[in-house]
Amino acid sequence: MSLRIENLAVDLGQFKLNDINLTLETGDFFALMGPTGAGKSVLLEALVGLVPQTVGEIYVDGRKITNLPPEERGIGIVYQDYALFPHLSVLDNIRYGLKFHPQVESGDAVDDLVSLLGLGHLLYRYPATLSGGEQQRVALARALVVKPAILLLDEPLSALDPNFRQELRVHLKNLHAASGATFLMVTHDFSEALSLAQHATIMADGALEQVGTIEDIFRRPTTAVVADFVGMKNLFEVEFLETTAQGGGVEFRVGKAVQMGSGYVAIRPEDLILSDGPLISSLQNSFNGRVSAIRSHGFFYEIDLAVKTLTFTAVITNHAFFDLEPALDKNCYLSFKASAVHQF
């Protein structure tokens, strides 16, 4: 079932949404990402019908639901803290919505979800006695049993122990495939989005910065905000000139400038290659720089290099680190492909 949001605006004083336009196709798994305070939760609440919009329309399968109360929208929600009814058993939690959906053939739906999510042994327990992962599965079953057109997931994995996240990602993926519902997931964890979603959008300051496939958002950000958010740390203001871009005294080879005049270039930290001497290679950009900071992150190191007035950040593995033995103020060469330079 599809979801269409047209020109939606919400004004809650502290939080505002401006001119949100978004279309989710039937069966999509869509990730809504963005920094804290961007308005992601406000958008979810506007979709559920808990926050009044100022202007704009929301359609589910072409049916306008803008002014319907929450109970008539056919949009389910799974909260970060799961919000299970503490006074009801697991089975009563799952069955709760069926009372209000007489048209759903209840028996099978409950049984299918219970077995799909492995909840059979928990049916007569109460939520307070369940682990986080179990609670989450109950919340998913409860939301899906009434066959919502759209299911909203508010940071579904963030409250879980990291060791269980992988397992629950698999559950989520299976559920999405089995239910055929359209999933809209809020997350601030890029790897979650990468492993689950097909499409995504980045929200900042109450507006959508970019909408597209996961691949597009991660590999081809169209705005500086998105580039910064998805971890393109090396973001520089430049002047484009045919096949080069100049900024901060550094000349980048960019293949072919997609625009003229001023703009931005960005290079992923892991696309930078460090070496002791200049590399004789097909890499078109190569600069000499000075190490200005070294940060260990367990599995990898982040190295800052000063090249003229710019500071580049490179990511290297511990292995490469011990081979290269970078030290503060040591000179180092920095190379990257022209095709690794993203232009905005």
């Binding site: 019908g49 808990l50 929450p70 009814f85 503490p86 006074h87 009372k99 209000f100």
Partner: protein, 265 residues
Amino acid sequence: MRKDSFLWFSLLSSFVVLLFVTVPLLRMLTAPSFSALYETICDPQVYRSIWLSLYTGISAAAICFVFGTPLAYLLARSEFRGKKIVEAIVDLPIVIPHPVVGIALLGMVGKNFWLGRMMHELGLRIVGSPAGIIMVMTFVGLPFYLQAAKEGFASVSPRLEYVSRSLGASMFSTVINVTFPLAWRSILSGIIMCCARAISEFGAVVIIAYHPMIAPVLMFERFQSFGLRYSQPVAVWLIIVCLLLFISLRMVGGSPRKPGVGSRV
């Protein structure tokens, strides 16, 4: 651990406070002899007054429950301009001197106010009637019920209500199926506090209705006519009956639906 003079000072003054509250009550409860207690309860005037106190007090609590619950819910859930003022208004009955409460209510139902005239024409007698006593008790008990019910509702996460509505339940169904069962313990505490406060009232009731006599009025009369020794047994009986009432309310209403409720408290 070495001696901490601050801790000792705190413990000592706490002990003094607790003694100040408990000693007079224990002394009073143990003062009357068993024969005095037995004689007292055989007195029809005594048990009629205790029965009247119970019945008017429970009625007042029931009225607070019916009319106060929606207000308590609104105060717990919504933010609006003037909320502080509304909260101050519903707390007024605590701080208004008790005879003033009686005088104010009497002024409202008197014949030189339209409400009083209307009631009079309908044949509804307030002055000197159980209806008047219930009115006074409702007035003084209301803040205690509202406070407890408000806290009960506030302790239920609004997310549970949102989820319920997203599952197809209307606002009304949601309150009945989710909010109410979860807030029930606080609501029951509020009902008990309200009922206790209603039964304890004397100054306001005595203005509206000296007769029929509720237990506190009877105690006052016995104290004035016969002295301390004759008022104590009535007090003991009233306290015993109220304790029994509240304990049984707690036991009957403690867990309204499922055993699971208890586990979250």
